[in-house]
């Protein structure tokens, strides 16, 4: 046997659930330190002309879509499946998470083209989580649905991996 350098896969999973904290941070209370509640994730849509990307630190209404029956800030993401981490070898592994249901905007009219969704943590000062882009869309008196990929090590919506 030999020791092998690697970030542990379980650590990546711990990051997704906030189980480890290597520095001080100001958090909104999650109920208790031993049995914290799960934060609320929301999904906001952004215009094709907006700028949301890896440098986006928090939700902002700037560049967000507006229209009939769309509420600023978007909708709450269904999160019934906790993040998971798994090893694929002694040096590699993946921590991953996917919303457990489609994200749906019902009976909305969004006439200006949009092409991105920002997932953010509305329980923790609207801190950003991820940006996902798709082909530019408009909706007229209709429904816009984002169906999630399969929650697997290779396709999950959010994946932290070592190789």
């Amino acid at each position: 046997m030999a020791n092998t350098q690697s970030m542990t896969t379980s650590f990546m999973g711990d990051l997704l659930v906030g189980a480890q904290q290597l520095g001080t941070v100001t958090l909104t209370s999650r109920g208790s330190l031993t049995s914290p509640t799960t934060d609320t994730v929301k999904a906001a849509l952004y215009l094709a002309s907006a700028t949301v990307n890896a440098s986006t630190t928090a939700y902002s209404a700037t560049g967000e879509v507006t229209g009939t029956n769309y509420t600023a800030g978007g909708v709450t993401v269904t999160n019934a499946t906790a993040p998971t981490s798994t090893n694929s070898s002694t040096t590699a592994g993946v921590a991953y998470w996917t919303p457990s249901a489609s994200i749906t905007y019902t009976n909305v009219t969004l006439t200006t083209a949009f092409d991105a969704v920002l997932l953010y943590n509305s329980s923790q000062s609207n801190k950003s989580i991820s940006v996902h882009t798709f082909g530019s869309q408009t909706v007229t008196a209709g429904t816009f649905t984002l169906t999630m990929p399969s929650n697997t090590t290779s396709t999950a919506l959010i994946r932290l991996a070592t190789t």
Binding site: G135, T140, T143, L160
Partner: protein
Amino acid sequence: MAIVTTTKGDMDESLLEKREGSLDNDIEHTTWVEYWLEGELVHRSAHVRLKTSPALFAEAASFA
């Protein structure tokens, strides 16, 4: 008889012209449906199925 939500209120689908489309690439499979009334778009819905997103890779540094 299917009812469609439109900018004119709920309407019988048979009164409308239906147009459909789709897009498929490495990132998404998207379908959309439009209903038109006398040349005016009165309903458009879209369904985006995200396939995958780039993974964030993590690394632990060596002392060597």
